[in-house]
Each structure stands twice: as structure tokens, then as C-alpha cells.
């Protein structure tokens, strides 16, 4: 919870999010037109999507399945009876003059989602509902001085609107909610979660209150298309509302538009009047009834979801909560980690995957787990060399960089560069004896009680061997000779 200290006292944010998630399916919710991103304008439009007179909607069974799976992934109640209604409004990219949506009887009811916060803590946020609806077409306003261009390819594509309860109290929690929701959707394969392509968009409902008091009046900021912008728009809107409230003003319940390039927001007054949507059951569609046994069978086939996987990584591999959370955020990453960790030290593996490996992926543009120069087997080979004492952890970092550069495996690089750790007692003993003989002053000080000097001795041995001495053995040898 973030408390904002105003001039007149503390304020608390109350945030609820409505997320529109585009369902992964080949065809649209009520027509057989394709859904691929980036096609030629109006090429993926059937006469149903264009709302030609007499055309009738027929529901796509995949859309229903994806919605139910998502509901199950959100631990939500699946409604065996749901109904489609018409939401009436006029806009140039809505040829029907109404959107087919669900209102009184959504397909999914209340559920929960667990947020993973920065400090490793978790927090539960309620899901109010999930319903199915049609997407609208796309308007382009910047192609012509006096005209708007309309592309209906997106018209009729299946959306899931996922509505949270007003349970979030900071921009950080809103970000964590979106990240977790996206992660669950991707695990389930029900939405690709690509916010930059518009397949996941968020409306932010925000109000301010004095801590512990009832909710204040909220505003809704529409269609924010990245997690960072959601967080920015929350900070901005909270400040705006606090300023108004502290001046003794009142908040208008209104729809606002966030302009990411300017970092400002403004009221969308034109939407206000349209808010009378006059919902009524769509006479073209019978109620949707689904079978409890079918829902059970979908539940049985769900993949292991992030929360369960995280718990398993903690229990099975003994990973810290934070590391487990980072590794399971993405299904491919989790699978990569498990491949590398198989038969190896799980903690050492986690450190390498999260640290050096992610670091290299992030700074190499275009690199991902599928095309990276170091694959799971090669990273495993490097960790094996650390585990069996062939190289030290420090040398391993150097080897890793060379692997990333060249794509060669660890053993080849160690051989080539002569980085093999000196673990030969005889060789090390000679160096240690020489060192002791050459530095009687330091030996005297050490024996006189300056225990910290052991570090200096280790450093000298490392220097003499260009860092290749096995540090554990050097320590042992020194202690044996000096103590």
C-alpha cells in the first residue's frame, strides 16, 4: 500500500483494472474470418463482421473453451449458463451499431490472482468476472486531413474482458497484477499478451480516499497499452485527484485518455453521453450452456501454472522465493532452467540462469532462448566445470563471456585459453612455500593475531597463478602452513 502525503493529510489509492485480452483462435467469435495480426486492410472481414443485413452470428467453440480455461486458471467460478447481450452505441469502427458482449450472465464469475511483489511478498487480488465480447474495428485518424480510415479486420475478434475487484493500492501492485495476468494467459495459451500489438489492453479505474474510509468517486482511464504506461497514468491521475480534493473540489466520474508521449491525460467528454448502453439479450443468440463434465476435463488438462510451479521450485530445488518467482514468470524460462538444473546443483544453476545468462540475453538485441549462442546443454557444461573444480566461479564468468561471443562450449574455451584451475597440491604447495619464505614480515603479523592477512596471502597466490589457483585449496594450504 502506498500512502500519498497530501497537504491536508494522507491519501490512499484504490485501483481496479479491466483488461481486454484477445483470445488466441484462428477465426473470430461469431464468424469464420481469420484473426492474424497485420493483414491487408479489410481482408479478414466476413459479411457478418461488416454487419451486412441478414447476416447471423454463430459462436466459435474455441472462444468458449479459451474463456473457460482462463477462468479455471484464475481459480474462478465457471458459469454453466451464460448469455450474450447487445451493448448499443454508435462509432465509426462498430458497423453493427452494437457490440455483442455479456452483461448480466458472464461465462466466468469470481476468482483470485496472486501478485508477486518486488520484496518477494505476495498479495491476493479478487477477480470480479470474465466475459466474452467482440472487438471493434480499427480507426486511423492520421492518414487524411478530413477523413478517418476504418479497417474492420479486428471487428468481431474474440476478447475476454477480465475485471478485477478494486483491490489494488499502488501503481506497483497494478503492474504486478498485469504481469501475473499476462503470465497466466501465456501459460494457458489463451492470449499472447502482446500489449504493443494491442492484444492486451487495460482500462484503469482509480479513486482516492482517506485510509480506512469508504471509496471515493473514480475515473476510468481507457486503453492504456503498456504496463509502464499503466503505472505512469496511475501516478498522474492520483496526483490530479489529490490536488482537486485538497482544494475542496469533487472528482467527476468520467472517462479519461492518457497521452503517453506527453505524459498527460484529458477527459473524453464525448464518451459520457454514450454511457447509456441499453443492454438487452441478443435475439440472434441462444443462451450458452456448457457441460460440467467438459469443464472438468479442461481442468484436468491445464498446464502447471506459475504459482504451482513457483511452489514446486521452492520445495523441490530449495530456491529462494524471489528466484523461483523470476524463473517461473515465463514458461520457456522455467523449462530452460529445469533442463539445465537436471542432475546439477539447483541453486548454482538458478544463479547462473538469472544472473549472467539473463544479463547476456538482455544486452544482446534480438536474442532469446530459442536462438541464443549458449543453449541449455552448453550452460550446463559450464556449470559442470565449476562443480568438479576444473574452473573457479570467477574464471567461469570469463569463460561464459567467451562462450556467448563464440558459441563454443565451455570445455573447449577452458582448454584453448589455458584457464584450467590449478588443483595440483604439489604445484600450489611450492608457490605457497615460496610466498611464506619471501614475506617473513607478513607471516609474523599473521602469527601475531592479524587473521585478516590470510586474504592478502590468498591474493598473492592468485596473482602468481593468474587467478587459476583453486581458492579453496589455497586457503587450506595456507592455514596448514601458517597456523
Amino acid at each position: 500500500m502506498t500512502i500519498i502525503e497530501g497537504k491536508t493529510g494522507p491519501w490512499e489509492m484504490v485501483i481496479g483494472l479491466e483488461v481486454h485480452a484477445q483470445v488466441i483462435a484462428n477465426s473470430k467469435l461469431f464468424s469464420g474470418a481469420a484473426t492474424a495480426f497485420g493483414a491487408e486492410p479489410n481482408s479478414q472481414v466476413s459479411l457478418v463482421d461488416a454487419a451486412m443485413p441478414g447476416m447471423l452470428p454463430v459462436i466459435n467453440e474455441m472462444a468458449v473453451e479459451q474463456a473457460v480455461k482462463t477462468g479455471l486458471g484464475l481459480n474462478a467460478k465457471i458459469n454453466l449458463f451464460s448469455e450474450f447481450e447487445r451493448k448499443n452505441y454508435f462509432y465509426a469502427d462498430l458497423p453493427q451499431g452494437y457490440q455483442i458482449s455479456q452483461f448480466l450472465h458472464p461465462i466466468v464469475g469470481e476468482g483470485t490472482i496472486i501478485l508477486d511483489l518486488e520484496d518477494g511478498k505476495t498479495r491476493e487480488v479478487g477477480i470480479e468476472r470474465l466475459h466474452l465480447e467482440q472487438d471493434a474495428g480499427k480507426s486511423l485518424h492520421d492518414q487524411h486531413p478530413t477523413m478517418s480510415y476504418i479497417d474492420l479486420n479486428r471487428s468481431g475478434v474474440t476478447l475476454m474482458e477480465i475485471v478485477s475487484k478494486p483491490d489494488m493500492r499502488s501503481a506497483e501492485e497494478a503492474g504486478a497484477y498485469l504481469r501475473k495476468l499476462r503470465s497466466i494467459l501465456r501459460y494457458l495459451g489463451t492470449c499472447d499478451g502482446n500489449m504493443d500489438e494491442g492484444s492486451m489492453r487495460a482500462d484503469v479505474n482509480l479513486s482516492m480516499r482517506r485510509p480506512g474510509e469508504p471509496f471515493g468517486t473514480r475515473t476510468e482511464t481507457k486503453n492504456v497499452n503498456s504496463i509502464r504506461f499503466v503505472q505512469q497514468s496511475i501516478e498522474l491521475e492520483a496526483k490530479r485527484q489529490v490536488a482537486i480534493l485538497e482544494e475542496g473540489g469533487t472528482i467527476d466520474q468520467e472517462t479519461r485518455l492518457f497521452d503517453a508521449s506527453k505524459g498527460t491525460s484529458r477527459s473524453m467528454r464525448s464518451k459520457e453521453e454514450a454511457h447509456d448502453y441499453r443492454y438487452f439479450p441478443d435475439p440472434d443468440l441462444l443462451p450458452l450452456k456448457i457441460d460440467a463434465a467438459w469443464v472438468e476435463s479442461l481442468k484436468k488438462d491445464l498446464p502447471e501454472l506459475p504459482d504451482a510451479k513457483k511452489q514446486r521450485f521452492i520445495d523441490e530445488f530449495g530456491l529462494p522465493v524471489y528466484d523461483a518467482g523470476v524463473l517461473v514468470a515465463d514458461q520457456e524460462t522455467a523449462a530452460f532452467y529445469e533442463t539445465v538444473a537436471k542432475g546439477r546443483d539447483p541453486k548454482l544453476t538458478a544463479n547462473w540462469v538469472i544472473g549472467d545468462y539473463f544479463g547476456a540475453l538482455n544486452r544482446t538485441s534480438g536474442a532469446n532462448l530459442g536462438n541464443a549462442p549458449v543453449d541449455a546443454a552448453k550452460l550446463g557444461g559450464l556449470i559442470d566445470l565449476i562443480a568438479d573444480g576444473t574452473i573457479s566461479g570467477r574464471t567461469a564468468k570469463e569463460v561464459f563471456e567467451a562462450m556467448w561471443e563464440s558459441g563454443k562450449d565451455a570445455a573447449a574455451i577452458v582448454e584453448e585459453k589455458g584457464l584450467k584451475q590449478i588443483s595440483d597440491t604439489g604445484a600450489l604447495e611450492g608457490i605457497v612455500d615460496q610466498l611464506i619464505a619471501d614475506n617473513p614480515g607478513q607471516v609474523e603479523q599473521y602469527k601475531g593475531g592479524n587473521a585478516k592477512l590470510i586474504g592478502w596471502f590468498v591474493g598473492q597466490v592468485m596473482k602468481a597463478t593468474q587467478g587459476k589457483a583453486n581458492p579453496g585449496m589455497v586457503n587450506q594450504l595456507l592455514k596448514k602452513k601458517l597456523d
Partner: protein, 95 residues
């Protein structure tokens, strides 16, 4: 249930129908009569009767997730008052 002139004006606006001031009064009476006529239905006792969603007992037909339609931009755009570069072109609507 009686419909007043403001309600008529509001419904007309929501439906994007222009109704001249002088016709609104007449419509007030007509709409009120229609509503009253339909309201007679509430005289029936429907206690325990399931809502009827279809005249024949059937469930919502579903189709498989296969692309079977589209790829007909020319047909889709054929009746558009104006088009350009494969888009519908409409008077500018800017939020």
C-alpha cells in the same frame, strides 16, 4: 407508464434519429400507448415458468475454429459511400 417529451428526445438522440420538435409531442403519445399495450403481459402470472429463449427447444449451435470466410474486401467495401486504399473512409472522428 407514460413517456415524456424529454425521454422521446433522448431516445431519438441515442438512436441517432433526428425528430423535429413538432413531431415529438405526437410520439410521446404513441410510445406511451405501445408501452402500455406491452405492459398488459405483466397481468399474467408467470410464477415458476422458465423464460422462453427459443420457440423450438435447442441449444446454441457452435462452429469449429476454422477460417472459412473473409478475403472479400471488394464485397465488404462495395456499398461504402467512400473508400480509400482498401479502407472505409468516413468523416473524421477524433477523440
Amino acid at each position: 407508464m407514460a413517456v415524456d417529451k424529454d425521454t422521446v428526445a433522448r431516445i431519438a438522440k441515442l438512436a441517432r434519429i433526428r425528430i423535429p420538435e413538432e413531431q415529438q409531442e405526437a410520439l410521446t403519445g404513441e410510445l406511451t400507448e405501445i408501452l402500455n399495450w406491452v405492459e398488459q403481459l405483466s397481468e399474467l402470472d408467470t410464477e415458476g415458468v422458465e423464460p422462453m429463449t427459443s420457440v423450438v427447444a435447442m441449444s446454441l449451435p457452435q462452429r469449429q475454429d476454422v477460417v472459412t470466410d473473409g478475403n472479400c474486401a471488394d464485397k465488404v467495401l462495395k456499398n461504402a459511400p467512400e473508400g480509400a486504399h482498401g479502407f472505409f473512409a468516413v468523416p473524421k472522428v477524433v477523440e
